[in-house]
Symmetry: C2
């Protein structure tokens, strides 16, 4: 597989977690139709009240990059930024295989 | 959703990453048939030579717990433990929704 994966950790201003999660679920709706998106899941984290994690798998890094400039992405990013307490942290992964993925 | 998600980070003894990944891909084959397993993906990490991350989503915490005592799980755990440099770290998640999941 040449897939790429990301765990993206967003830390929000106090009390803004659910608002951010709502925006990221809108982003997931866009991702669902984006070329090469295999997984885009929005999560809260046990024991961390102001954290949202997004789990992503894309067919290629190029597909992921293209999604960031797709219609609507800039508007969602603009709405999300004021909710954050700092820049997102990203763990870059190379999926080797497993269960539950297409292909 | 009452789903649960996990990011599980395994750090191996030097040079044992691919051996561990192979065992975890066998675990993924078991997970594929386990009740309630929605995702079990084995990943390497950019820039960390001795790390394997597993991304899991289960229908419930009970389904995940049951899988750990399923046939074959103990044997794989026994083979994996000597490859590790320390105990796995786990980030516990509550998936809210997104793209690419069943249901």
């Amino acid at each position: 597989m040449d897939k790429v994966g990301y765990y993206v950790k967003f830390r929000t201003q106090a009390g803004q977690r659910d608002a951010l999660a709502g925006l990221l679920l809108q982003a997931a709706d866009h991702a669902r139709d984006a070329p090469g998106c295999e997984l885009y899941v929005v999560n809260t984290a046990s024991g961390e009240d102001d954290v949202v994690w997004v789990t992503e798998i894309w067919r290629s890094a190029a597909d992921h990059t293209a999604s960031l400039s797709a219609d609507g992405a800039g508007e969602l990013i603009g709405q999300a930024l004021p909710l954050l307490a700092g820049p997102p942290e990203r763990i870059d992964l190379r999926p080797l295989g497993g269960a539950g993925l297409p292909g």
